[in-house]
């Protein structure tokens, strides 16, 4: 069981969260001209690194906020969590 520290609620079990994928993928700005390649990269292309990965989770059975989690994809160790508006370095 993973234990994730929700920035709003504190340390909670993985079962309260649902996964939202890579948090570093940026949606193209829709008010500008967007190339097919940019859409491609946003919708389909993923680095999926082995090691540190910044990802989105939603505290679906808690405060329902989306949060950012920095986690190791090889060991499942969680290093940092943050509000979705904050940066993880």
């Amino acid at each position: 069981m993973l234990y994730i520290k929700c920035p709003y609620c504190g340390l909670r079990a993985q079962k309260e969260f649902s996964y939202g994928g890579d948090a570093t993928v940026k949606r193209p700005n829709i008010n500008e001209e967007v190339s097919s390649e940019d859409w491609d990269n946003f919708v389909y292309m993923r680095k999926s690194p082995r090691g540190k990965h910044i990802e989105l989770w939603q505290h679906i059975a808690g405060c329902r906020q989306w949060i950012k989690v920095q986690r190791d994809t090889a060991t499942h160790e969680i290093f940092q969590t943050a509000k979705v508006t904050e940066e993880i370095r």
């Binding site: 996964y19 890579d22 491609d40 993923r46 680095k47 994809t73 090889a74």
Partner: protein, 418 residues
């Protein structure tokens, strides 16, 4: 090569089975090969075998970081089927079914292919309609499909919960009678033995650390056991695809996730074929040893760990208990995990790349085992002829940018939901 038969078995019994030939050698890597296949799993071994057999390319090496058959080919739940709706997937896998049917004889290795059928259960009228549609699509592609009503399902799996109290009553199901299971290790070993016999070097405990690409053309690979020159390189590394892609500065429509499976203690013969629960993600079959082999959802987050967490096992088995209440009295023997190369539309990629001489075989999600022979067959063709075969002509890498997705389940790009 020593032929395996009842006579060789008797002959070797006289010497207490001490004098069997080694099934494959353990050579040191040569400095140069015509083709290097990275990944000594089922798909890599099959590719090398078909390169030698179908295309007479024998100066081939398989480079494996661990040991052959130690990855997903030894970690899957051994299900073989071709019950796909889309033409490209259906034709591809039905060609594979033909290869499976003759595989034990062809490899002179008993892969224990056992076509006992797969039943996908339906739990609503809408699901029955969807299965009727899928069954019709399958039959149009020459694949056997049978829509079963509740009574027919009850005859086949009477131990399922047919009581009135269940939350998801069984309405019926779609059956592919020719689907089945095989012994997964034997598939890897059978291909390895034949490939080795035809001159393929199987190099284990050799990690790929980099690639030599000059002017957009592959020249060779760098490994933990020295540099190896190669005219052509094929990637067959399933869950490690993204790791090697990073070394090639490629980004792929692939995410790596962990999938768990488990087996119960062995019990007497109880379940004939493969059964999938239609109201949750759970599938089950019984091995020849008697263990109930079960699996279901991904853990649901990017992972390279080859092990998962208990909440997922609990979730999957909750579905299992809803379908087969008798499972509650069985002890769990073991659980394990494998890492899946989840493609963004759920279908595989067998293609050339923008680097000349570099070929890609990935995106098998959690369904790679059934396609082992056809994947090797088509990948060998793609490498040998430097062009895709008709069978994998829709399994291209560029389908994501052109919009020709093969989204069999229509799940979108959240690969972990499937």
């Amino acid at each position: 090569m020593q032929k395996y038969s009842v006579f060789s078995l008797i002959k070797n019994a006289f010497s207490n089975h001490q004098n069997w030939e080694v099934a494959w050698k353990d050579p040191a890597p040569k400095s140069e090969y015509d083709v290097v296949i990275i990944g000594g799993g089922g798909h890599g071994l099959a590719t090398a075998y078909y390169l030698a057999k179908e295309h007479n390319i024998r100066n081939v090496a398989i480079i494996e970081k661990g040991w052959i058959g130690g990855g997903n080919v030894g970690r899957n739940t051994t299900i073989i089927r071709s019950n796909f709706m889309y033409d490209a997937n259906a034709r591809f896998n039905e060609f594979g079914m033909d290869l499976w049917r003759n595989l034990s004889q062809e490899l002179n290795f008993n892969v224990m292919f056992s076509p006992r059928g797969i039943i996908n259960l339906a739990h609503s009228d809408a699901q029955m309609n969807a299965y009727a549609r899928r069954g019709n699509s399958m039959r149009l592609n020459g694949i056997d499909a049978k829509l079963l009503d509740r009574d027919e399902v009850k005859k086949l799996i009477p131990m399922a919960d047919f009581s009135d109290e269940v939350r998801f009553p069984i309405f019926g199901g779609l059956m592919q009678p020719s689907a089945g299971t095989a012994r997964h290790d034997a598939v890897a070993w059978g291909y390895a033995r034949q490939a080795d016999d035809m001159g393929v070097d199987i190099i284990q405990h050799c990690e790929v650390t980099g690639f030599d690409v000059v002017n957009g053309k592959i020249k060779g690979i760098r490994t933990s056991r020295g540099d190896i020159k190669a005219k052509k390189v094929g990637l067959c590394v399933a869950g490690s695809t993204n790791i090697l892609a990073e070394k090639l500065n490629m980004t792929l429509p692939i995410e790596t996730h962990v999938l768990q499976a488990c087996v119960s203690e062995p019990v007497k013969p109880l379940l004939d074929g493969v059964v999938t629960f239609g109201a949750g993600h759970f599938y089950i079959s019984q091995s020849d040893k008697g263990e109930m082999v079960m699996g279901g959802d991904l853990d649901g987050y990017n992972s390279y760990a080859q092990r998962g967490n208990l909440p997922t096992i609990q979730h999957v088995l909750t579905g299992g208990l809803a379908l087969f209440p008798f499972l509650s009295r069985l002890k769990m023997l073991r659980t394990w995990g494998g890492i899946m190369d989840m493609s963004m539309d759920g279908s595989p990629i067998i293609d050339k790349t923008h680097i000349e001489g570099l070929y890609l075989n990935c995106g098998w999600c959690y369904g790679g085992f059934k396609s082992t022979p056809v994947s090797g067959w088509t990948f060998a063709h793609t490498i040998a002829q430097d062009q895709v075969h008709e069978l994998n002509s829709e399994l291209r890498l560029n389908r994501f940018s052109t919009g020709h997705l093969l989204d069999e389940k229509g799940l979108g790009t959240k690969t972990w939901i499937g």
